[in-house]
Symmetry: C2
Subunit: 220 residues, 2 copies
Amino acid sequence: MPKGQQSQRDKGAAPVRKRLSPAARRAEIVQAAVDLFAETGFDGSTREVARRAGITQPLLYRYFPDKQSLIEAAYSRVFLETWDPAWDALLQDRSRPVVDRFQSFYEAYTEIVFQPVWLRLWYYALLRDAQVHAWYREVVQEQILKPMVRERRAELGQGDAFAVTVDELDVPWLLHGGLLNHGLRQLAGQAGNRGDSPDRPAVIRKALNLFLQQSAPDAG
Amino acid sequence: MPKGQQSQRDKGAAPVRKRLSPAARRAEIVQAAVDLFAETGFDGSTREVARRAGITQPLLYRYFPDKQSLIEAAYSRVFLETWDPAWDALLQDRSRPVVDRFQSFYEAYTEIVFQPVWLRLWYYALLRDAQVHAWYREVVQEQILKPMVRERRAELGQGDAFAVTVDELDVPWLLHGGLLNHGLRQLAGQAGNRGDSPDRPAVIRKALNLFLQQSAPDAG
DNA sequence: GTCATTGATTATCGACTGATCAATAAAGAC
DNA sequence: GTCTTTATTGATCAGTCGATAATCAATGAC
């Protein structure tokens, strides 16, 4: 199969000009941007984004005024779509033990968040954009960690009305951060994987056990 | 003080050509590279490195064959000098309780590792260079986490001869990663700080307590 | 079929990048 | 003081970057 020859349906380069609806084209561009930025960071070139999206580079500027807008579109494409609204109900379903609920939650949560694209884009964003980090930190604290403390209180019959203190969040933050770091470690360990690992549920279980022990009435 | 005027000792630009020994000049260049790369990532330009080092850009290429060599010099300048040999003895000083030893160690360790330059360079390296990550992960595991498990075993009179299993490292890794993540969170929280925080020892204490509880004989 | 709309491309700009080379000048040897 | 060594600079190259303007052509309205 000599390189010079080119079949009619060569997958490498489709020279035909394909006209898409603005919404569809924009979605393809954003997806290409997400993939590239996750690999190379935000200094990935607009030309490479265009190449992956199968278009020419100037066309990007019909959909985004500048590169920064494209970066922000990649942000929201990944981070805003992270949270599944069903998780809120799951975390507060008091018919199940806290440990079961949060085991289910963290397995589902890490299935998304441990994907290389998510993790890498997250850390790139973190290093570059302090605002994104502050925003997502708030999400984790309000949606996951505070509910975890409250639900555990309720399970122990301590009442869940009074506010969660900063002090009570230290251990949850430690464990949540530890889990994130676990995902990162796996990511770099075996390049090209999907972010999965057989021992993920086991690590989550250990983290939750630490939290439960620490919050047990007879513990310090 | 008009901009056009320029005093004899203008700190902004010293036009005098100053001749340094190769070792001294190289050290200044590496320091400038470390600072810049920690701020902007490794796509920081060689011209900016030169500007911060107070030299012209071509001079860099007398000391480093290419930019990649400069990056690797920045790596070793920061990461190789992290470990204090005194820490090995500290961690194995069995005249003190394990919790005291590791409290002292982690306070000293995080004093270095939570500095913005270290943390940022670390995460940039991690995202770009899987080898560096693998290398340092090995350091943490062999120098910190395995000793932690062994010393705890000895303290409990369980014997420390047999090898530390992967399973036993899960909780130490969770807590170590949680601490690292804690440093990162503070870093982004208040830009421009030194990486310090008043509650750092308290968080370390909580992490160590979790480890001790988990390894206690009556715990699962 | 004809035409207007607009998605898409080609060509190109100025700024910046990593890197090279010849010319310059500071410091030590004598 | 003179000379040799070499640290340092100025000039410059080819390539790439983000972004703009003019041009082309696919699609739907009629």
